[in-house]
């Protein structure tokens, strides 16, 4: 769009929301404190898999300060399995789909450690937790289902007996004909890969405050959700209320990353219900232990994969069969394994593709998307296959990638399979070679390989280089909406339905409006996440905020701009083409003193006397919706230099480079912040963070002492560069950037690590740890000697 040359759009504007956040004045759910408020705590299953024989809550109920104790029996008809958030995809071959969704409180059986069984409401959280210790549940322990391969054995214990199998879903997607690729191949590489993704570990845990006002007959819910509007709609339906009786507010949220869009968490269903039962406000703030046990996670996939190539390194086809650990229930459908299946194809021409997966029930926490949402798994498989192929074929690792990139003139590019949004996997636009070239230049690819590596080695240092490419499907539908309104004081209010968890929406959305209306960014207030402010929408996920809500905001701002021009042209008696908007005014080009304040126009558009002309609306206000036909595909290349201590297996990142293409950049500061945060989580995923369940399904990593989120000491400074290939499928040309940083870090570590030891070993598993690195180095030395 041409407006990019002007003042706001595309500029590194400092974030509007930061003063509030940095001085501790932003409202988070736990800041909500209402008169007469009660506090909730949950008795959670200590077993991964057990039958519940009896529940005795009498002692807990009798404790002073305890107001109510609820079990599944007490919920009556309100006890229902949760909705299936994402239905089965319209793929050609899906022999199995077993819909099993979580229940508000476990009734006959528990299926993971941490599953809620009893809700206690008390005068304080302290009393509520004391009461939990008085609850007596008689369990009959059942064997845990921890390993996905063992779960498929014919005599395996069943997570859901009535399903008759632990297979939650079985999906096959194909493009072309793998057999043809195999027949034509000079080389076929075959490996098993294990990729384990972890826990989002948001700085703020989940939290809910529900307040049923019996006089007003309204329910207000403050919720750490990424999707307040669907939560409002769902709660209204479940509680028998109309949508206008329910207001859901997602205030400032300390990180979402995907798990906060799970609908509905058991607590989300129960706290509002209990508030209506007791006619008092109730607060539940998840503690860190609960967060590790009961918030959704991502976990591992086991891929058996093959790649068929010609001798000169052209990909003929890829074959992949994988198992996906989906946990105890499958409320989010198949989004994560579908993302893995689709994103594997990456920026490459893959003429023939066969991909099959089984999602497997286990007695562990529920798996739903977490930043990257399965994309990591797919990218790891493809990038590893290419590295191994390059080695076998004697090709440079960047050359094999370059050779297979989809050429820039081949877009839109149809991969002929179904993506997570149920639309065909078609890439809108892309230009991959410039990003690769730029990354090679920034990391000093040739210089490192030709000079520096040997110099390090002469000093006894093992330093390796990694360089990998990826795509990220972003900005999917269905739609978002926005209302833009100029106030009489000249300031602008923008309301949209998506929630915000730190993405900088208050600034980037304001920039979109500022560009259209010529109003300074700081005079634009963005309201997100409050269902009373905007009725329609879905939520913040799949890197879609800027693309979908941003485009709706753009359309609404453009409509207001047009009304401004129309009114001003009448008032000033000039053609709209001769008018400009800047500094909160509309004025005649070349005659800035012939100007009108936007605020005055807003007043004029809302007269106290006289009629608003037919077919117009009062005020300077417009509401618009935007639904992209398909997602926008972002892409990028990451590169790094990694030093490894061969004696201890510890690593140090010497340099980290990201070249990223998210289409048109609205605010480079915010984009880089997203990249930095994503890379930090990616580094965690690659080398620090690992969810460990023991053979009984007990979570061994239920605190930050054991679940190792990297800190500022482990995350290096990053150099970020942009390539801009606008998306033709939205008016901003934007593509999402929310997950990009996190996606390719696993294969990057793997490649750099191998390079540091001249490919003496192969890395086929993520996450790594110092002990694993030491074992790899040690093992390869033993093999040599």
């Amino acid at each position: 769009m041409t407006a990019r040359e002007t003042r706001y759009f595309g500029k590194p504007v400092r974030r509007n929301e930061d003063p509030k956040l940095l001085t501790g004045r932003a409202l988070f759910v736990d800041d909500v404190d209402l008169p007469g408020m009660l506090h909730a705590a949950f008795y959670r299953s200590p077993y991964a898999h057990a039958r519940i024989r009896a529940i005795d809550v009498s002692a807990a109920k009798a404790m002073p300060g305890v107001v109510a104790v609820y079990t599944a029996e007490d919920l009556g008809d309100y006890w229902q399995p949760g909705p299936l958030l994402v239905p089965p995809p319209p793929v050609h071959k899906m022999p199995v789909f077993n819909k099993r969704t979580q229940v508000p409180l476990a009734k006959e059986k528990v299926r993971f450690v941490g599953e809620p069984i009893v809700l206690v409401v008390a005068e304080s959280r302290y009393i509520a937790e004391d009461a939990l210790e008085q609850i007596d549940v008689a369990f009959e322990p059942l064997p845990a289902v921890v390993d996905v391969e063992a779960a498929l054995a014919p005599d395996a214990p069943l997570v859901h007996e009535d399903a008759g199998t632990n297979i939650a879903a079985h999906v096959i997607q194909e493009k072309g004909n793998w057999e043809e690729a195999l027949a034509a191949a000079d080389v076929v590489i075959e490996r098993r890969f294990v990729y384990d993704h972890g826990h989002a570990a948001p700085m703020e845990t989940r939290g809910i405050v529900a307040h049923w006002d019996a006089r007003m007959q309204t329910l207000t819910v403050w919720d750490t959700t990424q999707a307040p509007i669907p939560i409002r709609n769902g709660l209204a339906g479940m509680l028998g209320l109309s949508e206008h009786q329910v207001r859901v507010i997602a205030p400032f949220i300390g990180g979402g990353f995907g798990p906060k869009i799970m609908m509905f968490y058991q607590e989300e269903v129960l706290i509002p219900w209990a508030s209506m039962q007791l006619a008092r406000p109730i607060k539940w703030i998840e503690d860190r232990r609960e967060n590790f046990l009961a918030m959704t996670q991502e976990r591992y996939q086991i891929h058996d994969a093959k790649i068929a190539l010609t001798r000169d390194g052209k990909i003929l086809g890829v074959w992949d069969s994988f198992l996906h650990d989906t946990g105890a229930y499958i409320p989010y459908g198949l989004t994560v394994p579908l993302n893995a299946q689709c994103t594997l194809l990456g920026p490459y021409v893959v003429p023939h593709y066969y991909s099959e997966f089984k999602a497997v029930f286990t007695t562990k926490a529920i798996v739903t998307p977490y930043r990257g949402a399965g994309r990591q798994h797919g990218v790891f498989v493809m990038e590893r296959l290419l590295d191994i192929a390059a080695r076998e074929l004697g090709l440079d690792r960047t050359e094999i990638r370059r050779k297979n990139f989809i050429p820039p003139d081949a877009f839109p590019w149809d991969n002929e399979i179904i993506y997570q949004d149920f639309a065909p996997l078609v890439y809108d636009s892309g230009n991959y070679e410039p990003a690769l070239d730029k990354a090679m230049e920034m990391i000093g690819y040739r210089r490192f390989l030709e000079e520096e590596k040997a110099r390090y080695r002469a000093e006894g240092r093992h330093v390796g280089l990694g360089i990998v490419a990826y795509v990220e499907g972003t900005g999917i539908g269905p739609y978002e909406g926005a209302r833009v309104q100029v106030q009489p004081n000249g300031k602008v209010i923008v309301a949209t339905g998506v929630g915000t968890q730190g993405q900088g929406h208050f600034t980037s959305f304001a920039q979109v409006v500022a560009e259209q209306l010529g109003v300074p960014v700081e005079d634009i207030t963005v309201v997100t996440g409050d269902t009373a402010e905007f009725h329609w929408g879905t939520g913040t996920f799949a890197s879609r905020g800027a693309v979908v809500a941003g485009s709706a905001i753009y359309e609404a701002a453009k409509a207001v701009r047009e009304k401004v021009l129309r009114m001003a042209s009448e008032e000033l008696e000039v053609s709209p083409d001769d008018l400009e908007l800047a500094d909160g005014n509309v004025f005649v080009r070349g005659a800035p003193d012939r100007a009108l304040r936007l605020g005055d126009l807003a007043i004029a558009a809302n007269p106290l006397r006289g009629a608003v002309a037919p077919d117009t609306e009062p005020g300077l206000e417009a509401t618009r919706y935007f639904g992209p036909p398909r997602g926008a595909t972002a892409s990028g290349v990451h590169a790094m230099l990694l030093e490894v201590d061969p004696e201890t297996g510890f690593v140090r990142i010497l340099k980290y480079v990201v070249v990223h293409d998210c289409g048109t950049v609205i605010n480079p500061l915010i984009v880089e912040g997203q990249i930095h945060g994503g890379v930090a989580q990616g580094i965690g995923n690659a080398f620090y963070e690992k969810i460990v369940y023991d053979e009984h399904g007990q979570l061994l990593t239920a605190s930050f002492m054991d679940y190792l989120v990297p800190t500022a000491m482990e995350v290096p400074p990053m150099e970020v560069a942009h390539v801009e290939t606008p998306s033709p499928w939205n008016p901003l040309g934007a593509k999402g950037v929310g997950e990009a940083g996190a996606i390719p870090v696993g294969p990057l570590f793997a490649q750099a690590l191998e390079d540091a030891f001249d490919n003496a070993f192969e890395v086929t598993e993520i996450p790594l740890s110092p002990q694993q690195v030491w074992a790899l180095v040690h093992g390869s030395k033993e093999k040599q000697s």
């Binding site: 959280r125 201890t648 620090y688 061994l700 605190s703 054991d706 190792l708 000491m713 482990e714």
Partner: protein, 292 residues
């Protein structure tokens, strides 16, 4: 993660604290910096009937030096880290402190709290072993001085009796020609160590090693001195071969446990690698060109 109910007493003197301890014995817990105790309470892993808070006891926060270096048990770890007297008289402490958790934790955490808690992977017990420190315990029965090597029994277990309070740490002056080194590896900076070494040794006029004290942590049920390594080093002339031999020898003295972060075999390997590195750090020029 809220603690079960407990009674709380803010002690304003050592005597007040000892009164509570003699009355309640094992049912009482002493609150110093609270960096381990409070999470333990919040996880409901401990449910003491009464907490005795030492924070108001100002007489326990001091650093004094006249011949012997004396450190009050309630001295904050951040103070140890930055204190010039300590840097001069016991620089091993100064070298170790940045590895103890994070600045926020060190600002609350105390030396006495860390020693009395006796986490097997904590730095300060090993530092006290390497410095040949003496730990002073008081009770209404009187005062006793416990050599560091007799203080740390095992996992969260020390020589302190339930009516006793750790009040002071005494560190003998380092003779001239004393060398020291501190090495550890932790998964992330500030985590409890997977393995670590704190050591001191002297070089006599002939350039031989005297009075070596090699303390290891994270690789046993409590910090310990590696007698095997010390026997090899004592009286020996520094050499790379000696360094390697001594490093190998620590394996005889330790029994690391396996957990999700490191196996026993890997911890043993790390103990050897770190011992060798620490010895090279300490010996430095005395190793001459023998280093790799």
């Amino acid at each position: 993660m809220k603690p079960p109910p407990f009674e709380y007493v803010a002690a304003h003197s050592v005597e007040e604290a000892l009164d509570v301890l003699v009355t309640h014995g094992w049912d009482a817990k002493v609150l110093a910096g609270g960096q381990s105790l409070i999470p333990t309470l919040n996880f409901r892993l401990a449910a003491p009937a009464i907490l005795v808070d030492l924070n108001p006891v100002s007489e326990l926060a001091f650093i004094e030096a006249n011949g012997m270096l004396r450190i009050g048990a309630m001295t904050r770890q951040r103070t140890l880290e930055r204190d010039e007297t300590i840097a001069r008289l016991a620089p091993l402490i100064t070298a170790a402190m940045p590895h103890v958790a994070h600045p926020q934790i060190r600002t609350r955490g105390t030396i006495g709290g860390s020693l009395a808690h006796c986490d097997p992977a904590a730095e300060l017990p090993a530092v006290c072993l390497a410095l040949d420190a003496t730990l002073v315990a008081r009770s209404q029965r009187g005062e006793r001085a416990i050599p560091a090597r007799d203080f740390f029994f095992g996992l969260f277990s020390t020589a302190l009796e339930p009516d006793e309070l750790l009040t002071e740490i005494r560190i003998p002056p380092m003779p001239p020609n004393t060398r020291y080194a501190f090495r550890e590896v932790a998964r992330r900076h500030g985590d409890f160590a997977l393995a670590g070494v704190a050591l001191t040794l002297q070089l006599d006029e002939a350039g031989r090693i005297r009075a070596p004290r090699v303390a290891l942590f994270g690789v046993h049920d409590a910090a310990l001195l590696s007698e095997s390594a010390m026997r090899l080093l004592d009286g020996a002339a520094p050499s790379e071969a000696l360094v390697r031999e001594a490093a190998e020898a620590v394996a005889h003295d330790i029994e690391p446990s396996s957990d999700i972060h490191a196996s026993a075999a890997y911890r043993t390997h790390l103990a050897k690698v770190l011992t060798a590195r620490a010895l090279r750090d300490a010996l430095g020029d005395a190793l001459g060109h023998a280093t790799e």
